[in-house]
Symmetry: C2
Subunit: 928 residues, 2 copies
Amino acid sequence: MVKKKQMKEEKMSDTKKSDTKYVYFFGDETTEGDASMKNELGGKGANLAEMSRLGLPVPAGFTITTDCCNAYFAANSHFPPSLEADVNAALARVEAKMGRKYGDPENPLLVSCRSGARQSMPGMMDTVLNIGLSTSTIPGLIKKTNNERFVWDSYRRLIMMYADVVMEKAEGIEPFDGKGIRKILDEILDQYKYIKDYKSDTELNADDLKVLAGAFKRKIQEILGAEFPDDPMKQLWGGIGAVFKSWMGTKAVSYRRIEGIPETWGTAVNVQTMVFGNMGDTSATGVAFTRNPATGENLFFGEWLINAQGEDVVAGIRTPLPLNNETKTDQNKDLVSMEESMPETYRELVDIRNKLEQHYTDMLDIEFTIEESKLYMLQCRVGKRGGKAAVNMALDMMDEGLIDDKTAVLRVAPNQVLEFLLPIIEPKIESRQSVLLKGLPAGPGAATGEIFFTAQDAVQAIRLGKKVILVREETSPEDVEGMRAANGILTARGGMTSHAALVARGWGKSCIVGADGMIVDSINKTMKVGEKILREGDVLTINGSKGVVYEGDLPLVAPTASGDYARFLRFMSLVDKYRTMGVRANADNPADAQKAREFGAEGIGLFRTEHMFYGEGSAKPLFLLRKMILCTTQADRISVLKELFPFMKKDIKETMLAMDGFPVTIRLLDPPLHEFVPHSALGRQELSKALNIAEDEVRKRVDALQENNPMMGHRGVRLSVTYPEVTEYQALAIFESAAELIKDGKDIIPEIMVPITCDIRELRLAKDLIEKAYQKTLIRMELTPKQFHYKIGTMIEIPRAALLADRMAEIAEFFSFGTNDLTQLTFGFSRDDIGNFMSAYLDQRILNADPFQTIDRDGVGALIEMATKKGRTTRPALKVGICGEQGGDPASVEFCFSQGLTYVSCSPFRVPVARVASAQAAIKAMDK
Amino acid sequence: MVKKKQMKEEKMSDTKKSDTKYVYFFGDETTEGDASMKNELGGKGANLAEMSRLGLPVPAGFTITTDCCNAYFAANSHFPPSLEADVNAALARVEAKMGRKYGDPENPLLVSCRSGARQSMPGMMDTVLNIGLSTSTIPGLIKKTNNERFVWDSYRRLIMMYADVVMEKAEGIEPFDGKGIRKILDEILDQYKYIKDYKSDTELNADDLKVLAGAFKRKIQEILGAEFPDDPMKQLWGGIGAVFKSWMGTKAVSYRRIEGIPETWGTAVNVQTMVFGNMGDTSATGVAFTRNPATGENLFFGEWLINAQGEDVVAGIRTPLPLNNETKTDQNKDLVSMEESMPETYRELVDIRNKLEQHYTDMLDIEFTIEESKLYMLQCRVGKRGGKAAVNMALDMMDEGLIDDKTAVLRVAPNQVLEFLLPIIEPKIESRQSVLLKGLPAGPGAATGEIFFTAQDAVQAIRLGKKVILVREETSPEDVEGMRAANGILTARGGMTSHAALVARGWGKSCIVGADGMIVDSINKTMKVGEKILREGDVLTINGSKGVVYEGDLPLVAPTASGDYARFLRFMSLVDKYRTMGVRANADNPADAQKAREFGAEGIGLFRTEHMFYGEGSAKPLFLLRKMILCTTQADRISVLKELFPFMKKDIKETMLAMDGFPVTIRLLDPPLHEFVPHSALGRQELSKALNIAEDEVRKRVDALQENNPMMGHRGVRLSVTYPEVTEYQALAIFESAAELIKDGKDIIPEIMVPITCDIRELRLAKDLIEKAYQKTLIRMELTPKQFHYKIGTMIEIPRAALLADRMAEIAEFFSFGTNDLTQLTFGFSRDDIGNFMSAYLDQRILNADPFQTIDRDGVGALIEMATKKGRTTRPALKVGICGEQGGDPASVEFCFSQGLTYVSCSPFRVPVARVASAQAAIKAMDK
């Protein structure tokens, strides 16, 4: 009971009362909708209306609104009572405009039923063409068109489509014997052609098609237990209902999940007069982009086919022809262009193209049909484009005066700028490759190299000058050195937030995870894909932006070298004109800091001090850390800390130097200590020998560190409470580094960040230790507090810290939301363990998005809002940032902007993405 | 900088301006304070003032306020400027009253300096007696008392005390060579007695004491580098400062932490005229309770000593005498009572006793001194008492008309009622035992038995009719059967919320955890305490209320058999008269439900369905569960669920029956599945055989279930999402059980509770599955919805659920706060892993209390408040309860009442505790 009420209420919020207008006519100056009505009419419907209003040749029709779709589902798949009369009235207007009559035996009107959601969902929903053809209308149409074959061909197409879409899928009928009705009818067609010894469909004559139509109808009755409707009105309503139902189809539902489209948007249905590009050699059909969608070049670009229907262009059975001469390529330079073949209609089309671009001020994707030399526009929508094309078009259109600079900034999806930064596979070559394996696109860009199955092997191969793809079942911190060395990473397990994905993304390293089509055997150093076995040294190329793996060494194209890069820089400076929120980088070493700075980072939002214990050059510090961890007295720990001190200082100082002039936020030791001790017997043996402690004792001490839920264990500031000396020496390393640089004339203000705090008293304890180290450093380095400033702040990553943020801000001069851990604790989701259920949560739409990728606004967002507001009540000038993974996610950046955050911090490669997202948020807020 | 400002602000909230009155005189009708001024004057000072006002013989003196203490620390251990003049003025009033003069060589006044906080902190702070004795005042006092030995003895006592308290401790001087000055002076005394061949202090004559005083002063100069002050005023200020400083002493700080006393309360200093019980046989000193503090009996009860000072009674060097004849015992029946020896003074004391009880309307703890036949009252305060005594006194005083019934309810600390329910060690025998080992009092009551080191051994021994104490390093779910069988549990590791503690408390089983003085070797079946080795079969007795372990088989006393139990029942019915909030029990089986009902539970707040897989009788269901877990298809799982079904139903149905007429809240499966599969190779082998699945395959499937942070893993409602069939069969078992009982005429309304929800969509999914099972059951059992109701609700234990509680309440008809998990996630504290840092957090006062024992009001409490309010905006009639461990903690119960919760639910044995706490909260709220 409750549930139904609930669903209804949800819907009501997005729908209107039942006396709403559900049907909108289009086709001439009396057109009722326009391009602004996408929410009601869907993208296709709104643009058909807009083109009609512009006076373009659009076959008349009408759009049934998305509200009607919602009303339909709310009423348990029944049409609203008012709809029938409205459809009839609209149909009468179409008939009047087109001079034909629906269902009329003499002069019949045929229509199509097409879906059209607010946002394009290509191929995800269903379409029925040629509706209105029946035993009663066929003779009239034959007479009128004088083309019997065309009519019977249209009829058999209607039957096939209708049986598939309306009678089977929309009714939820399970495919018979594993085969859908469409496939069964196709088999009949093939058998018939085989019997007749026809090579292609074109050989079928009118009689053949008539025979086939009869056979199809019998088969449908047999398989589906229902008759193909011969009543044109019944066909029409079946088509409308089927399009609505396809909104809830499996494909559409899963597409919406991926794209984050709410179910409540619904789809519109466009019922439109059929026009035919397949009525002979003066007929044709085509698709075009008003500019090149791959490069952004300002050239009219498209493909067309003579005597064909739209689906023939898309299906790829016939080779499409180039639209004009200037866009001919080496491959199609000998084919006839529309410009050559139908110069007059082509000029008409170019006029329409210009008119549309001027009107929409954007690159458009259009569909047209020429019926016996008459041009009809069937679709126009803003065209999809690659990242480089998006930037180029935005700048070009701005230069052309078509759009202003704010609009130019908004034209590029933030993630699209990544294309300028990453090596890619030579596009033409990639398009010809067959895919070996697919996985999740965890680290963008392409990489090629020999495969190696262990981190050690990878490192060794790199030393021998080889290119390496590291292939692992999944990665762990012990693999980090190998991961850093490798050109690309490929794992069989793990999701977008797995260890491999996080590490790779931070480095901008090409990485594919969760490629579950392969079986990795790291003992025998082989991987199996289907029946194929690949061995160490075999060469793969991976496209980490797409999550696709190819065999062999495909050529890569470098990013910055190209002339495009200058365009990127110009675009980014435009972006920064409007950006108000800061963008920093998460970087743990001088190289990353340098890279981040190149990409426009205005400081470091997260320097992880523990980084020095991972990866290259970490052997000695890691050894010392382990030695310290196994100490049993404070005095012993302090003596090891003194040995560690120069290592601690080195990375910090060099990173500060690389960021000279910008703030560097250094986080105190965060992970639990057991992360650093060897858990294998062998590792313990080595450590026992190196430290001269009995192996049994080492085992005991290591075991004592074990935790059941390490994420919530003895880590972060909790280590400051139990081992204050560790915090003190970290602070000393930070302050000495800063002081030395200050004495060298550098502009350094270290920001020390305390992790995992849940109470002001923890923060006070850490502050006391840090302040003591600061005072010591002032004396030791002979500096005054005026010469040397620092800030202390805290991560807000424990829900309690967010709840008590007003208290935290009494001490903290800045907050940084650690949205990884905050999300873990707010949801009670262990990021390492969501693999077993997260896909079910997304599939079943319990969650709209993975909260580890995009900030959960309802829960985590509520805590962020609360903490920011509360913190600023105590300390109005409180700096507030975010340094979780989501800091580089555009939707999350927009949320951070809306909450008034001072900056976002993300991995260096995502800095440009965050800059764009931040600028767009600012522009959108201006326009409100 | 920030820190200091912060500290000051904190103090300011509890202190007043510096022009406040800091000194209050007492001693006659001009007394300035009274009993209501405990916050300012401390308990001792307020009661001295009150007794003075009542006209009782109190030696005159004055109290320096707690505000002054705070001002003293705020000013970096300096007295407020105004204090000196005020002290001098008060001293003049004392001199006038007593007819002596401070520092006067002829007729000197001596004073004591004693601490006195708002709440008694026995022995935690310091006292200095005999202040004012100096080389200048000694002759006059000798002349006046005509007792040279007494004066020199008083002087050497002053020197010892002063050196210890004022010159060493208050100055923060580290003990020399590991020995304090007190110990060093004691050694000199002992050496002197050895040389003189004296057996006791009484043999020391005046000259001896004079020599010793000189030696003491020289030693003090040598060790402490300072002179014992000979100026009486210097002595006085030293004493006052030392008492203040003792507020920050180690002992006081740690006592405050345990008792939850805020540092900002401060201590008062009582400066009072010395009177002497050691001036001969007409002098005496004593302590008494106005009623028997152990039993509550209405008899004047106390001890006294002739010719002695107060500390002699307490020190236990001389055997104290009984106060009167009616309270003589077998042990002291031949000793002379005060009633016999000083009948007149005794009658005076009895009059005072009656006057005080009438005035304070409570049992009091008093101290008195008789100086040459004159009676002086030195202290009176409300007396501490045991649980049974508290109940008896409350009922008696109510019957006597001394207090009303509300006051009677408030007179008993909630935990005190537990004494009526648990077996205890025969108190007289226990008092004579020496302690073997101490640990945390995890499960109250006493137990005795042979020690066994594995659950299996324990179970086997019980079967042989033995009494068993199960001794483990720590316990895990695999030990549960042994734990249930054992009479008591003793672990070396774990805190108050460890597995052993939780399980034991739920059963009211005696348990001591974290007894880290022992080393357990479960392989060799021994435990080592110091050098002592105990073996399997050795007998121990444990007092789980105190956390103390004794060797041997001490006799236990059973609770309900005694006549006391009727008093308990009478008190509890009084409690229920004022209780408004419900109290339920957490119970997983019919026996516990029955017990809970006996203890007054009004339903079950938490029935854990997974309980059937633990402990006795669980072998078969556990086997089936494991079989189900290893299934790979839904069909297989369903077929195993059908086998499991009768087991699921049995416990549920019997528990519902035991609670007939009361609601039973049944929680769906909560733990992650890997908790139920064997992790040992042997266990896997057995399972492999039993299930006829290859061992390697079993290992693989078990491994696939492993999680890094199982607390935040694939559990609770997340299992409903991935394995809906499990939820469906659980719901069917609940509904069928209920339906069968309803058909038998029982009054059953099952409440189904969904665990670990974080989003309404999870809850909706679970609700759909449950509703489906309900509809199926209605049909199958031929019942109508009118005949058979159920409720659906959710745990609120994930922060996000609390944040989105308004949405959750759209579906949930009730909330139950799972404060264990909610605390874990709000703090980011893994309950299993806090052992490594929680004690540091409490020691360093980062936390005032373990949040797993008492609800953290600031953080977790804020979420509870938010969720309750938000939930009731959507559903005003929302039932809200709590079923975490804290549901039986009195402070938490009071908090729950303040938040308007419908009920608290706790382990059966804590139900009476929660009833008392709930009633007291209601009464306190009435009085506001």
